[in-house]
């Protein structure tokens, strides 16, 4: 696992601003050809699309045996599934950016699997829907996923404000059951984030 805490989206934004400034600066002193007049706004739109597409997803679903887990952003959170559960939800795995999630939304028709259903709402940051579905299918979701989701949704304030010590207690319950080491490492990180949350 590569732990690279650089804020990728910020770099993309900075790059976009830099290119915009170059374009704007170039417009002032020189007469612009018709081709450039069209190309410049188009390139700006493309840059903004690029920025939006590269925006990292907050929640990323991975399999227990995933080998190329990229941890690029401190805001990234991983939900680690056992091999069997990951086999039931192959399309949900490793959606690293918001554009990956949008592509998944485009092709997904029916979510029959309760785990996939909750995770679908979670990766789209619809925490209230995820929480509702989690409560509805609680008995059909394995304990290691259920405890982690409960803690994460408490962190996201899907229910009324849960005090930090209660959230840590929920993470403690999830910690004991995590199938992969990264799941436990992430819990430590989340507790640190919880402390510094303002």
């Amino acid at each position: 696992m590569v732990a690279n805490f650089s804020e990728l989206s910020h770099w993309w934004t900075l790059l976009g601003i830099a290119v915009m400034l170059v374009c704007i600066r170039g417009q002032r002193p020189r007469p612009i050809s018709t081709g450039n007049q069209i190309l410049r706004p188009v390139s700006l739109v493309l840059i903004f699309f690029l920025c939006a597409c590269a925006e990292p997803a907050r929640y990323i679903v991975i399999s227990e045996d995933a080998k190329d887990v990229r941890w690029e952003h401190t805001g990234q959170r991983f939900i680690c599934l056992s091999k069997e559960d990951a086999r039931n939800t192959p399309d949900l795995l490793a959606l690293y950016t918001k554009s990956d999630i949008q592509k998944y939304e485009g092709k997904q028709k029916d979510v029959g699997d309760p785990i996939a259903g909750v995770l679908y709402h979670l990766i789209r940051a619809d925490y209230h829907a995820a929480n509702e579905l989690l409560h509805k299918h609680e008995d059909h979701i394995p304990a290691y996923v259920r405890t982690m989701l409960k803690a994460d949704l408490a962190y996201e304030n899907a229910e009324d404000n849960v005090p930090p010590d209660k959230v840590v207690k929920l993470y403690q319950d999830a910690f004991e059951l995590q199938p992969c080491a990264i799941g436990r490492t992430i819990i430590q990180l989340r507790i640190r984030q919880l402390r510094y949350r303002r």
Partner: protein, 234 residues
């Protein structure tokens, strides 16, 4: 022109000479809970014996509220080139801790005992008895502030940089273990915790209170693990 002078001198006076009061205010403005994750390996199986807590005393190891003390200062006021550097030392106060820290130390010790101890914790009679006294908390929590103001007649350059940390906390306890009234061991045990350095443009000094609480939480965790390890050697 006069305005630039006035603004420049005000910046130097207000930022370079900002004292301990503003730092103390920032640190006292934040509160947090002592809390940590029990991640030590669970005892595979209990041996069947029990351990009870004879006495658990936590002295007033923290000052009532967070303090900041100036350790050293350096100011070079040359009008056209002004440089300043201040070093402070802060200390966590109990008012910044939301939960009862004495109760937290006791409860977290029992949790650790239940988790990793080879003896089970007993509230009533136990095969062995431990007396604990938390007698001191040492905390090194530095804050560094430096800056410059360069006055170039028609313009000025000004910059200030603050960094805080790392926080090193040490919790010191006396532990006495007894069996049938006979002392098995009596020793001083330490727990250490460290929280990272805070720096950068977005630094909010209030976060440093959180860092001190984090270091203290980790030191308590380390102490609890040490004590239970010692009990397990019996």
């Amino acid at each position: 022109m006069t305005h630039i002078w006035i603004i420049g001198m005000m910046i130097v006076l207000l930022t370079g000479c900002a004292g301990t009061d503003s730092l103390r205010g920032s640190l006292q403005g934040r509160r947090g809970e002592l809390v940590y994750l029990h991640d030590s390996a669970k005892a595979a199986e209990k041996q069947g014996g029990t351990v009870k807590i004879g006495s658990f005393v936590v002295d007033d190891v923290l000052p009532p509220s967070t303090t900041v003390e100036e350790k050293s200062s350096f100011v070079l006021p040359l009008i056209f080139l002004n440089v300043w550097k201040y070093d402070y030392e802060s200390s966590l106060g109990s008012a910044q801790i939301e939960n009862d820290y004495k109760q937290f130390i006791r409860e977290s010790f029992i949790d650790e005992l239940n988790r990793t101890g080879k003896f089970s914790y007993a509230e009533g009679n136990g095969d062995i008895e431990i007396d604990l006294k938390i007698k001191e908390v040492k905390m090194a929590a530095p804050i560094h502030k430096n800056g410059h103001f360069i006055f170039a007649v028609y313009a000025f350059v000004w910059g200030q940089y603050t960094s805080a940390g790392p926080v090193d906390a040490v919790v010191i306890a006396d532990a006495v273990l007894k069996k049938d009234g006979k002392e098995l061991f009596s020793r001083e045990l330490l727990g250490r915790g460290r929280a990272g350095i805070l720096k950068g443009k977005n630094l909010q000094l209030g976060d440093y209170t959180t860092a001190m609480i984090e270091a203290m939480s980790l030191a308590i965790k380390d102490l609890n693990e040490h004590i239970v390890k010692e009990i397990n050697t019996i």
